[in-house]
């Protein structure tokens, strides 16, 4: 099945003894000049790249307190060394969070600290050579920016911040990653990661309307670019056709329909995901985020709701107000933005939507906490709402629910293995190995509690799991969207045949 060894799922997740260089060969395709330039980066490695990289490092540490403090504060205590899913799955010591940071820290020390300038050997400081740059390119593309290490670090050092900085330094000297940079280019020219133009979106959504009406007998609408709608839904473009994502989109539409809400999607901002974050590029992230502001103004909406997507929800929840705010032109009674799970949860609380839970009785579910939702965002007004609200939505729609073991969920959740700009086929080995801890937890509840399906609220998680879980003996249809469960169980009050005024656009 694979030209690499798929990790064995043992009884417990063992912390492996390290094996040098097992993933040294892993690196994503490098971006060609045409994918670099639209993002404002040089097309290829610049001549004076060492000098430029050191200069960029200095620039970043003067602009990001996190970067400066994290480079200084690490004491090499070892607390993070067994926390990264990529280390657990690959045994490569450079996938231990501290060792990954050190690839950059040792260069920082050499050029920016007293000890590293005068006693480099003593503190492990090195010059920035081509070998070091190659290591950066390889191992900073083996971090999914999931922040699990930051939970366990006594100083809160977040390797994601270091990885983002490293990628930005590399981009600034002309060494970018094809997958992310090509995608960002598509957002700039077309509006979404998949490069679906408005026409294609219209066709797709019309298809979904027909399909949903056939299934339910209810004319559930999937509106696009409707001016004057109350709610703008921004969702990952994978929701438009990938499985099981699209079943989630149908779920959102049914919820809006049942709530009698006036809503729309936008072809200008037809993407929730913001890959600018993966590059650590504030400027590119901002440029992408501003499309959402522009769409909201253009369409004259009052609220913004985000579909199921993990890193997207981080940029939306934690950064959108900073990057593209203030949103004082929206209805102040609602947070900006809201997560679709918050939206659905509120309707459930108010008794405005009802479920026939037996529709999901053929499944026993568990829930994968997406890394960036879990450790970088919140839902609702209480800390931890990001764990409780999606579970409450699932439990409202399903009778059979079991959590995976403690230590693999909530703030301790394991990344799917494909986040942070790594969801590309040129990193398949990494993705399969990085999924090991999550697959292990899923196998545990499969065997002990008869779990049949795992729900997720992230486009990356869903794509990653449908692709890699077969390597571990699962089938791709065992991965479901949370709003797919909602979709299957929601009771549409105007069904069937009862064809009254449910939409007025």
């Amino acid at each position: 099945m694979a030209d690499f060894e798929v990790p064995e799922l043992k009884e417990y997740i063992e912390v492996p003894k390290y094996v040098d260089g097992t993933m040294a060969h892993s690196a994503p395709f490098i971006a060609k000049p045409q994918f670099q330039e639209p993002l404002g980066y040089p097309g290829e490695l610049v001549d004076n790249w060492q000098e430029k990289a050191i200069e960029k490092m200095g620039d970043l540490k003067s602009r990001y307190r996190s970067f400066q403090v994290f480079l200084d504060a690490c004491v090499k205590c070892g607390a993070c060394t067994d926390k990264c899913h990529y280390y657990l799955g690959t045994k490569d010591p450079k996938n231990m969070p501290v060792a990954r940071q050190d690839l950059l820290r040792k260069v920082y020390r050499r050029y920016y600290t007293f000890a590293g300038k005068y006693f480099p050997k003593l503190v492990g400081a090195v010059d920035l050579t081509k070998e070091v740059l190659d290591d950066w390119y390889s191992y900073f593309h083996q971090c999914s920016q999931c922040r699990r290490c930051s939970v366990y670090c006594p100083y809160g050092i977040d390797t994601a911040e270091i990885s983002m900085a490293a990628r930005e330094i590399m981009d600034s000297i002309g060494v970018g990653q094809k997958y992310c940079n090509e995608i960002i280019g598509k957002v700039f020219t077309i509006g979404n990661n998949l490069g679906l133009p408005q026409r294609a979106l219209v066709d797709t959504l019309e298809g979904l309307e027909e399909e949903t009406e056939e299934d339910t007998g209810v004319p559930v609408k999937f509106p696009l670019d409707v001016k004057g709608a109350e709610i703008l839904l921004v969702t990952p473009s994978a929701d438009f056709f990938a499985e099981p994502h699209v079943d989630g989109l149908i779920g959102y539409a049914k919820v809006f329909h049942e709530a009698g809400a006036s809503w729309t999607m936008s072809s200008h901002a037809s993407e929730a995901g913001n890959f600018g974050m993966f590059l650590g590029s504030y400027e590119n992230m901002r440029k992408i985020a501003l499309r959402i502001r522009e769409a909201a103004i253009e369409l004259g909406v009052k609220r913004i709701v985000f579909g199921e997507c993990g890193h997207a929800w981080r940029v939306a929840y934690a950064f959108l107000n900073t990057l593209a705010g203030p949103f004082d032109f929206l209805d102040p009674r609602y947070p900006v933005p809201q997560h679709i799970c918050e939206y659905t949860y509120d309707l459930i609380q108010q008794g405005k939507i009802k479920f026939d839970k037996s529709a999901n009785d053929h499944m026993t579910l568990t829930f994968h906490d997406s890394c960036n939702v879990a450790r970088a965002t919140r839902m609702g007004d209480k800390p931890g709402g990001q764990f409780d609200i999606p579970r409450a939505v699932i439990k409202a729609a399903c009778n059979n629910y079991v959590d995976m073991p403690n230590g693999t969920i909530g703030e301790a959740t394991f990344c799917c293995g494909g986040g942070g700009g790594l969801l590309t086929d040129d990193l398949m080995e990494l993705r399969v190995k990085g999924a090991m801890p999550r697959m292990h937890a899923l196998k545990t509840v499969t065997e002990e509690d008869g779990v049949t399906h795992m729900a997720a609220i992230c486009a990356i998680c869903k794509s990653q799991f449908t692709k890699v879980s077969p390597y571990y003996g699962f089938t791709m249809d065992q991965i479901v969207s949370v709003h797919q469960l909602v979709s299957d169980a929601i009771i549409l009050s105007d069904a069937p045949g009862d064809d009254d005024d449910s939409d007025e656009e």
Partner: protein
């Protein structure tokens, strides 16, 4: 007054100057460098009081480390608490303990005295991990071992004076209270004491240029000190605000 006493006095002044200036420089750097984005590791407190509690739990109890690894927590916490007691105990060499505000200095003496063993045990545990656990060995540089050696040296030479070969602590106190008033007094010429003080001076010199910056650093860590309220309150750093006024691109 011997040349030795003068040399130690000068070194203490220099070390204090480097320590204070170095820390002021680094703390200022941390304080003025913007944190352009909200990056609190969640679940995070939603109020300022909550952040103070979170930070206190980190600094006093090492809460995240406890979650992470019980052995590192045990050794690390034991070492730090012992060190704190020992440092507080050493106030008796600098202050007039008959004054009412220093009433606690005599009270903690017995605890501070035996804390030496806890400090050495903690350091020993951390050092053993650095050597025995393959992952920790991999990430260790020579400086990480030397730092432990330095701290063990300070603890061992100090315990030596307390429990084996006493020094004249009245003279030591005169020396340090003298330093405080720029009046250099004679230091006892005892080998354990001179070693102890030389190592402490070394520690003071390297503090602001080493990983010991974790001490001020933890307070400035955005993942721990930010309030989780990005939707409620717009967070904008000065350089990011400039992007907005420079014209929309």
């Amino acid at each position: 007054m011997s040349a030795l006493s003068v040399t130690y006095a000068i070194l203490f002044y220099l070390a204090t100057a480097v320590l204070v200036a170095g820390l002021v420089y680094k703390i200022r750097q941390y304080a003025i460098t913007p944190a352009p984005l909200k990056i609190a590791t969640t679940p995070a407190p939603v109020t300022q009081t909550g952040v103070v509690i979170r930070m206190a739990r980190e600094v006093v109890l090492f809460a995240s480390l406890f979650k992470s690894n019980k052995w590192i927590w045990l050794f690390g916490w034991m070492f730090h608490v012992a060190l704190l007691l020992i440092v507080l105990r050493h106030f008796r060499y600098f202050v007039d303990t008959s004054s009412v505000i220093w009433f606690w200095v005599p009270l903690i003496q017995p605890f501070g005295k035996y804390a030496a063993f806890a400090m050495l045990a903690g350091l020993g545990g951390l050092w053993a991990r650095r050597i025995l656990v393959d992952r920790v060995r991999y990430i260790s540089s020579p400086s990480d071992h030397l730092m432990l050696a330095l701290l063990v040296g300070i603890g061992a030479s100090g315990a030596m004076m307390k429990f084996v070969s006493h020094t004249d602590i009245v003279m030591v106190k005169n020396f340090f209270t003298g330093l405080l008033s720029f009046n250099i007094q004679t230091l006892p010429n005892d080998t354990p004491l001179l070693i102890h003080l030389a190592l402490v001076i070394t520690l003071m010199f390297i503090f602001p240029v080493s990983k010991l910056l974790h001490a001020p650093g933890v307070f400035f860590c955005p993942t721990r000190n930010q309030i989780d309220n990005p939707r409620e309150k717009r967070h904008l750093s000065p350089w990011a605000a400039k992007l907005e006024t420079q014209g929309e691109k």
